[in-house]
Symmetry: C2
């Protein structure tokens, strides 16, 4: 075995532990009985500890150094060595004490956030957010950054992204997005609600969701769909990528778009090179690339006229009261848009504005330009500037998201980066006649093949922007997303 | 931390690994997609290896020796030290090469058995059985035994049981069981079949099964019921004991008795001292004790007149065609008995005869008194002696069970020991008026409390026969089982 192979073997061993954690985590969210919680937490923390031990062991470091000394000529192999160096160094740079402190601060922070949100009382959460920010800044210092500490945090979710560039991108987007949101909401106001009113039995929703997920190319031989409080997609190993959704008996679109979104993540994970499982080249490139896949299938495919031309008749077979709903009226419901206080309930036309707000606040918090105690005031003022209304309380304002309480600073931006990438990838793919023709008749094999080749096949062997450039000829550009939103919601 | 506590901590760490294996195993049988199999096998073999490494490490051995040097005065703690010594020494005595050889031989053996059974061709399986026996004998030699090698194998499943004693017990049972089986089958022949014919929708079977499992005391806050090809009960940690069953739309009793059987196992596991999880005192005493719990709830409770006096009306609510079935006719179906070739399809009145046959053949195989090639001939002759008929082929004869192909020699006897223990425990418990009164009106809290105190609470801190003696005043005695069968199937 050469040095590179030995390093890969160590990475595989770590992946056995982390994929086992994924099984335990999936079970915890889906089927685990409540009294199992305490032992499950012990199992998970044991496995996390063992994986961290292995990743930061002297043996692994030596293997890395040997592999670096005889750097492979193959580009993917070289990318794997560099990627593992990044992972190992990142894990090594954090002293055990800080990792433990973070885990404790976030556990308490999450509990305080739950309470604060329930009471809509920011003061309950504020001291915890202060501590969480302190740890985030320490981490940023340890990881290092060029311009500002937020760079180091952003890089955890979106490799090589620069805060300044993202900020400039978002700044340019803001007025255009605000225009679109306003016009979309005004249009929807004219559409009388209730066209889809009726009961949608869960068993029938499951049938439709499965047929549609299959039609996108999601492989049920290597996956499944279960029910959870919050939808997610998780990879338990190569050949095992599972989705979840939740059901509302009065609204079949909610579980369906949930499934299409998670199936988009799932198609990406199923398309990663399985033989490289546990290596950077077998792992997702970034959250912004991941989210591009979920948004592409959910929004560009799932909310399109082409899609429903095929699937509305099928839905009407399962839900007979839909038979009287005309395609035109149905599509108006699919595209219904309105201003809302809650991000996770926001529609496609307004969603990014919620992200822009969070990104700006987070950046200033990390920089120290904004004091924690002033977050509610700034949030409400900036929300008002975007939407012309003020959240009635902090539960519907700055306390609505779980991310900060879990230390997930730097995460939000990737949602909008995902939207931008999705539009750009979808538009580029559709320049090929075969793909566009497939999309028109809901045959997604050509589109999926293109995504597999242009995006999925590289894993994280390329950076997110290298992938965008390889696939579309250009790094992330907002124009496609704006064009798409205008066409769908304004013109 | 004193020496005993340090030893317990090592045992806890091992239990984190083995309980994680249990989660992976449960998932594999219930929900895992097919393409996940290869990676799952890798995860499991990794965890098994790590657990074995820990159990046999120098560090653990040192902790054991330190704990033995300052042997705790507390009886349970002392039993834990002795129990861990047994586990550690057993694991240490097997050289890694033999463990690997066994795992390989059994993997091939199992595949050959599947093929042999499908073709009903013993010759395909014979050379594998030869190898499996060779390994079993090597293991017996390494573990050591007093009288004969089979002792060492039996002890793996039924601690301290002696082959000679079990053989004597079984020999005495044989003519009595044969009598009962004959009379039971003759009686059932007079009962026209088809009284319960009808469709039993699976969703309604699930409702009934859950209500009944709950009524026995099975805690769904620390468990659940799923669907698998073969029913089982598995413990994933303290507070997490899960059951499975399978459904037949034309027969609700099949899934129900399956659930009651597995719930019996589950009640035992839920009743083990959770704080001692991972220690002998927090683990089941033996398979013969385990099976006593499943058989007690399935047969003594579940097939009784008292039970159906309450539950037949409820079943008739869920399955309306049962409304016209009278209690008397229903009970005749519950007690229907007939000679069958297949053990797993055998009823209560004939089951043990299948076990006696296997025990005798196994013992002679291990001793070397019976050559593998002669197994079909001997099986068929002895089967004929017991049941007066001859299996039409080996698939319905000596090839029907998976146990030998997996190296599970010494296992079969525990099924009948379980039946004997069940009858003895149930009869003893019912001497208490409160318990008997509860059983009569299907209130099982007093019975469960008695089992918790007399059986469950000790885990493996007592030997199986110590438990039987503590609970009933005497070691396992066949008379209760014979009495029970006579009352139910003959008188």
């Amino acid at each position: 075995m050469n040095a590179y192979q030995s390093l890969c073997e160590a990475a595989s061993e770590i992946a056995l532990l982390t994929s086992t954690e994924a099984v335990l985590g999936w079970d915890q969210e889906t089927y685990m009985p409540e009294k199992a919680l305490e032992h499950r937490a012990r199992q998970l923390s044991y496995l996390t500890g063992k994986a961290h031990e292995l990743l930061t062991s002297k043996k692994t470091l030596k293997l890395l150094e040997r592999a670096e000394a005889t750097m492979p000529e193959d580009a993917t192999q070289a990318a794997n060595v560099r990627g593992l160096r990044r992972d190992i160094h990142r894990a090594t740079k954090l002293p055990k004490k800080l990792v433990e402190e973070e885990s404790e601060v976030c556990a308490l922070g999450k509990a305080a956030w739950v309470e604060a949100r329930a009471k809509s009382d920011f003061a309950t959460f504020a001291p915890h957010l202060d501590k969480i920010l302190g740890i985030a800044r320490k981490k940023a210092d340890l990881f290092g950054y060029e311009d500002e500490p937020y760079d180091a945090l952003l890089d955890l979710y979106e490799r090589n992204a620069k805060t300044r560039e993202v900020a400039a991108l978002f700044e340019k987007l803001k007025p255009q997005l605000a225009d679109i949101a306003r016009e979309a909401a005004a249009k929807s106001k004219k559409v009388k609600p209730g066209a889809l009113k009726g009961r949608y039995p869960i068993e029938k929703q499951k049938i439709l969701n499965r047929e549609i997920a299959e039609s996108l190319g999601y492989d049920f031989g290597a996956g499944r769909i279960d029910t959870t409080a919050h939808p997610f997609c998780t990879t338990l190993g190569p050949g095992d990528v599972r989705l979840t959704t939740r059901y509302d008996e009065s609204d079949f679109l909610s579980s369906l778009f949930g499934v299409m979104h998670e199936a988009g993540h799932g198609l990406y994970e199923q398309g990663l090179p399985g033989l490289d499982y546990g290596l950077p080249s077998g792992s997702a490139a970034s959250l912004g690339i991941h989210e591009s896949q979920s948004r592409l299938w959910e929004n560009h495919v799932g909310r399109s006229h082409f899609f429903w031309a095929k699937w509305l008749p099928r839905a009407a077979e399962l839900f007979p009261h839909l038979r009287k709903v005309k395609m035109d009226a149905f599509m108006k419901e699919v595209k219904r848009s309105e201003f809302s206080f809650i991000r996770v309930e926001a529609d496609e036309a307004t969603y990014d504005l919620h992200i822009l707000l969070r990104f700006g606040i987070e950046r200033r918090l990390v920089k120290g330009e904004l004091a924690v105690k002033n977050v509610p005031e700034v949030w409400n003022a900036e929300y008002h500037e975007l939407f012309g209304m003020t959240p009635p309380d902090d539960a519907q304002g700055c306390l609505q998201d779980i991310h900060w309480s879990m230390g997930g600073l730097g995460y939000f931006a990737t949602y909008t980066l995902g939207n931008l990438n999705a539009a750009q990838l979808f538009a580029t793919a559709n320049k090929q006649r075969k793909i566009a023709a497939g999309v028109e008749k809901c045959d997604y094999a050509p589109l999926l093949q293109w995504l597999r080749q242009k995006v999925h096949a590289h894993g994280a062997a390329l950076t997110p922007q290298e992938i965008m450039t390889y696939a579309t000829g250009k790094p992330t550009d907002a124009k496609w997303h704006i064009k798409h939103l205008r066409e769908r919601y304004v013109d």
